[in-house]
């Protein structure tokens, strides 16, 4: 997959793909228009002051009393009305579609766990575990239950909903309800250390049947390596310290530090949406992870070139 493609999905809060996001962007456009009007009024008065700099009275008549009345009207009356209206609209009504979904109002639950610096996604109903990619069915109310494994992260897919922080000791919920199929970019929105910049992920909103197919595929244990090279790669993976940190269901690898690799080859990106998932990129990544993503938790294992080649072949076979 070419580099441009896996990043092409937007992350724009003004291209909503869900009701919640839609409501927020309505809010934004209205506030922006009102804001420009207020700004124009201020600039008008400033230029008026410059224009009539040699005449000390109001163009529309009246002395200081009139001017004071204008100040109270424009400075107190109008703002109080507008701000109260905005409060009621945004904080009493809009908030109902962006708030945590009510008990039993959702049909699917995904547990998303933030880690330094990647995302773990678990589907409790089906036991599927994946990373840095979340698949959801279109037109279905999905509850994302977010927690953190270390520091505070923030789960944010602007085109689907507002953000929600992942805070130690807290379990927060957010609604994902895509109106149309597509791939949406998400990114950590709370500074979480060295690689905060490279903690991104993708949300795939698929048609329900396609989603069910994906879920079924992900449920299976890992495929047995077909080629000799891949078989050798599996042995390397299990004998080298890879298996201490990564799980590959169906093998003895059951590490829980890093992402689950059971179906790595089915994902489009590596290292939390930092690089595309191609054999060459994968090989660079395993050879020197600290070069690609300085400070991340994955060590360079110093595999011999052909061992590396074998591991890449094996991982690339995990569809």
């Amino acid at each position: 997959m070419p580099p441009a493609l896996h990043l092409s999905p937007g992350q724009s809060s003004v291209h909503p793909a869900s009701h919640a996001s839609q409501e927020i962007s309505h809010l934004w456009w209205m506030m922006m228009i009102a804001g420009w009007i207020g700004f124009a009024l201020v600039v008008f008065l400033l230029t008026l002051g410059w224009w009539r700099r040699n005449r000390a009275n109001l163009p529309f008549g009246g002395g200081d009393r009139a001017a004071t009345a204008w100040i109270v009207g424009l400075g107190v009356g109008v703002p109080i009305v507008l701000l109260s209206a905005l409060f009621v609209w945004a904080d009493v009504f809009v908030i109902n579609s962006t708030a945590a979904p009510r008990e039993g109002s959702t049909r699917l639950t995904v547990d998303v766990i933030g880690h330094d610096w990647w995302w773990e996604a678990r589907y409790p109903a089906s036991g599927v575990v994946t990373a840095n990619e979340i698949h959801i069915p279109v037109g279905t109310r999905v509850a994302a239950v977010v927690t953190t494994g270390d520091v505070i992260h923030s789960f944010w897919v602007p085109e689907l909903n507002r953000k929600i922080d992942m805070i130690p000791g807290r379990r927060s919920e957010i609604l994902l309800d895509a109106e149309h199929a597509g791939v949406f970019r998400g990114q950590c929105a709370e500074f979480c250390g060295l690689q905060h910049a490279h903690m991104s992920f993708l949300v795939y909103a698929d048609p329900p049947d396609r989603f069910r197919a994906w879920l079924k595929a992900q449920q299976r244990p890992s495929a047995a390596p077909a080629s000799a090279l891949a078989r050798r790669g599996k042995d390397v993976f299990l004998s080298a310290s890879c298996a201490d940190c990564h799980t590959i269901r169906g093998t003895s690898a059951d590490g829980e530090v890093g992402p689950d690799l059971t179906h790595l080859a089915s994902r489009s990106t590596l290292a939390a949406n930092t690089i595309p998932n191609t054999p060459s990129e994968l090989s660079d990544w395993i050879r020197d992870p600290q070069h690609v993503k300085p400070g991340n938790r994955m060590p360079a294992l110093g595999l011999s070139p052909d061992a590396l080649k074998a591991v890449v072949a094996y991982l690339d076979s995990l569809r």
């Binding site: 109270v72 107190v76 109080i80 109260s84 009621v88 009493v92 945590a100 009510r102 927060s172 919920e173």
Partner: protein, 128 residues
């Protein structure tokens, strides 16, 4: 006695008009916020706080005080009518602060209304 009595009450009205609403809002704010934290916290549940009742009670008391403060400001302004805002103290100063309070208290009225009325429309601990 006769000398200082009216002065005291005028003084009191001016300062109550200026500060009363502010302090009462602050109280409603802290109690209202604290009540929600207590009600929704793991350790607060056992206190069996009925949130809406609490909020309604604090809200109404706050409202009464704010209105009283506004009234005090109005009275002071009327009493010192004709005095310039920078006129000689104490009348000038009372007029000055009462004029300002007249507007300032409106803010507290609105904020008390907005927070007090909106908070009871939500179910107690649902995440925003």
């Amino acid at each position: 006695m006769r000398l200082w009595r009216p002065r005291l009450s005028a003084e009191f009205l001016q300062w109550f008009g200026l500060g009363g609403a502010a302090l009462v809002w602050a109280a409603q704010h802290v109690i209202g916020f604290g009540a929600t934290i207590a009600r929704c916290g793991a350790g607060g549940a056992r206190f069996g706080i009925d949130l809406h009742t609490w909020e309604l009670a604090t809200f109404t008391t706050a409202l009464l005080f704010v209105v009283a403060a506004e009234a005090a400001a109005v009275v002071t302004v009327l009493r010192t009518r004709g005095v310039a805002y920078d006129g000689p103290p104490p009348e000038g100063r009372r007029h000055f602060f009462a004029l300002a309070a007249l507007v300032g208290n409106l803010l507290f009225l609105v904020v008390v209304l907005l927070s007090g009325l909106s908070t009871i429309t939500f179910d107690p601990c649902r995440q925003a």
